[in-house]
Amino acid sequence: MRTGEVLLQVEDLSVEFDTPRGTVRAVDGVSWQVRAGETLAILGESGSGKSVSTQALTGILEMPPGRIVSGTAKYRGEDLIAMSVKERRKIVGDRITMVFQDSLSALNPVQSVGKQIAECYRVHRGMSRTDAMRRAAEMLDQVRIPAAAKRVNDYPHEFSGGMRQRVMLAMALALDPDVLIADEPTTALDVTVQAQILELIAELQAERDMGVVLITHDLGVVADVADNVVVMYAGHVVERAATAEALELPMHPYTEGLLGSMPSADLKGQELPTIPGTPPSLRAIPSGCAFRTRCKLAIEQCAHEVPPLLTVAPGRDAACIRRTGSALKEAVR
Amino acid sequence: MSEIQAVVGAEAQELGDGRTLSNRELLRALLRKPQFVLCSLLLLVFFAMAAVPRLFTSVDPRLCELSRSRQGRSAGHPFGFDIQGCDYFANVVYGARPSVLVSIIASFGVFLLAGSLGLLAGYFPGFVDGLISRTADVLFAVPGLVVLIVILNSVPNRSIWIIVGVILLIGWPGGMRLMRSTVFSVRNREYVLAARSTGVPPLRILRRHVFPNAMAPLLAMTTLGIGGMVGLEAALTFLGVGLQPPSISWGSQFGVAAAYRDTPHLFIWPALFISTMTISFMIIGDSIRDALDPKLMR
């Protein structure tokens, strides 16, 4: 376990959406934290609420229809959710920054990349236009974009997918943030480019002792770079552990299923096991444990109560009544 | 006309290609909207007026007494009299027919023509697309109204059919471009590729797979444009290149009203009828577009 300072601590975060067909709870009582120098992976399928939780705490979620029902997100002890928009803007974009999945649509198509990076310096540091542009070029160089000085004036569509994601990174890291939230940063990229970007993030993280929250659906990515992992399913955290331990001995049947469905040399020639069924629609989450309809361990009792997230070992929490047992009744929230 | 097309085109562009409501679902969604129901009822009244004007008035619109010329309302003559001393209510009622006929037939015709040409242009790039698109470029480059006037002016006996025909001739490029662009986005979808790979003949692919999935924007544009057709017919008749006397139409009533400004009722009644009709068409079109919008369907 890393022992750096806790930078961002999310507790009991719940987010709901108002839809024409009623209210939907996308994130339900989620807690996690990230320390300086740590990489925390939030793992889950689409619709598990992994992106919504980070968008809610940074205030970029469309509200309405989204709504934060409860919870706190403390950056160095200050609650981002409770503070005013103005105060939050001094932290989000400066101390906490974000990288998104689809760099083509996440960059403004009609502004040069240099200008978009320079905007960070101009708004948060009040730099002059020329200084900001010079810094932007330096940032492009830091994320290893060849001929950075020349390319500052290029537009997003003139870069390849991998290079564009580097631009996104340059923009996010321009102000030396404490926490980087990377929302599926490599999903849209080729496998080789994916590895380069992840490596680059790791390198820049080590230089700055930055906390990284990596949102992904790819267990392979988690295994490669994350120190700790939070597994989400249907808006709930179902397992929380150090990556190595989770991979070694998954506690929750969902994590187990995900691990089982990873292709590996051992399974060569066999049919790849999968988790039966499909993730539930947020509009029709099963009663009790949301995973029970797809779970091979499910028993009658799973339908009656939502399994609490319980500590099963130091630094390991899971939400499964079959696995946590009745002996460990100590709720960790 | 082109202006409405541009706006509607942009608003309709977002309509789902690939996602279609069943007719019954669409109807149910529409019937939930009170403004849609109200406007449909109003239109039904206009349609009835066009089909059987006798239902609404027993007075013969051509039975005139010059002595009552331009008189105001009186018992049995709620709209007063026109310059010839004919009952104006009967005239306005009988005037519904050309407006309804021209707008409905021309809109349907433009929908079919623009739809098929757009399908062909979008699905067969190269020569077919080139031919259709360049023709559209030429038609776009001349003011449509000028061509309409020039052609209609050279036809001595103008019937509803001739007016519709000329509108068809020059009215298709806008819809064609919209259809073409939606076909472009649909033509390489998996279901089309699948059909093509199993040897389904092109025309059948177009009819069964491409058209149903690409028609929503054009449909919305067409329904929103029907009201414009009503106005166009009236404008042509007003300019003297539309319907000719003795046919009764709102456009010719405007023409007369323009010359007799001191008798406002000559203008007010046809204006009220024509506006109610075009606004009804517009609200119905707007409701249909909303119902087809996938973002609102969730």
């Binding site: 198509p109 502004q111 | 000028v146 003297g240």
Partner: protein, 308 residues
């Protein structure tokens, strides 16, 4: 950029040829003899008729007539109308009328359209937005003819705020009412387009990025949303201005403004092929120029279509 402009002008030439030829053919195909009709019931001496025919090239075969008209247009030798009016002098009188009307109408349309469109887009589902959607729906639906007449009746005949018709009171007084109505009708489309475009851009990913950068709401709106949302509106300019000439025929005849639209209409009625082709060429050239300007402007605003 220069190559792009040149290429566009070159592709416009064949289209211009087809357009003018087509219009000329249509006028040529009109039945009846224009000169005889102009003279009415009076018998014209054969010699006069023949001389007139020669003057207007009416004794030539179709294609020669067309080429001679085009030659006249390009040499600036516009000649006279059948009735004997000097066409060049007519143009000098009439172009300013149509131009003033169009510019004034556009000034109203763009000020109102952008103002309301942007405001409604930024504050969607607010009071302004909801009423705008309703009002513009009605404005788009009301036939132009009805709107012009109603405005003329209410504001000119009854309230006497504006002259009923004609240009005797000069600019801008004589032009205000027609321009206001045209502008108001055009504003509906523009405002709706602007609003729709903004509402769609607001949900774009790069707006999320801008918010994640900790930018203030105003900065996000003006620096990120608006430049992108303006793009579809720019293409609208071309279509809109191109439709102005057709619209001028109706407005100028209702408000009795002696502009190009009225000139065109009279020429069609009198089957003056030469004038119709001249005015069509004028309309076509302005159409091409406007579209060229729009494309260049679009290229400046959107680097993705910038031409090398």
């Amino acid at each position: 950029m220069i190559r792009f402009v040149l290429r566009r002008v070159l592709t416009a030439i064949p289209i211009g040829f087809i357009v003018t030829l087509g219009v000329f053919a249509l006028v040529f195909a009109m039945p009846g003899d224009p000169l005889r009709e102009l003279a009415g019931d009076k018998p014209i001496p054969a010699a006069v008729l023949a001389a007139k025919r020669a003057q207007f090239h009416l004794d030539q075969p179709f294609i020669v007539q067309y080429l001679l008209s085009m030659k006249d247009i390009f040499t600036g030798n516009f000649g006279t109308t059948f009735a004997g009016a000097d066409i060049a002098a007519q143009l000098r009188l009439r172009i300013p009328v149509t131009l003033k009307l169009t510019l004034l109408a556009n000034a109203f349309q763009w000020t109102l359209g952008l103002l309301f469109g942007i405001y409604a887009g930024f504050r969607r589902n607010g009071l302004v937005d909801r009423s705008l959607l309703l009002v513009t729906l009605v404005l788009l639906a009301v036939p132009g003819l009805v709107a012009y007449f109603a405005a003329q009746y209410v504001f000119a005949v009854e309230l006497k705020w504006f002259p009923v018709s004609g240009v005797l009171q000069g600019f801008p007084h004589s032009y205000l009412l027609p321009a206001l109505v045209i502008g108001l009708l055009g504003f509906a489309g523009l405002a709706r387009l602007m609003r729709t475009s903004i509402v769609e851009t607001v949900n774009a990913d790069f707006v999320k990025t801008a918010r994640a950068k900790g930018l203030g709401e105003q900065r996000v709106l003006w620096k990120h949303i608006l430049p992108n949302a303006l793009l579809p509106v720019v293409t609208f300019i071309g279509l809109d201005l191109a439709g102005m000439f057709g619209g001028a025929i109706i407005t100028e005849s209702i408000f009795n403004l002696p502009g190009l639209g009225q000139f065109m209409f009279q020429a069609i009625k009198l089957k003056e092929g030469g004038v119709v082709v001249l005015l069509s060429t004028l309309a076509f050239v302005s159409f091409i120029l406007i579209n060229l300007a729009v494309d260049v402007l679009y290229g400046i605003l959107d680097p993705r279509v910038r031409h090398v």
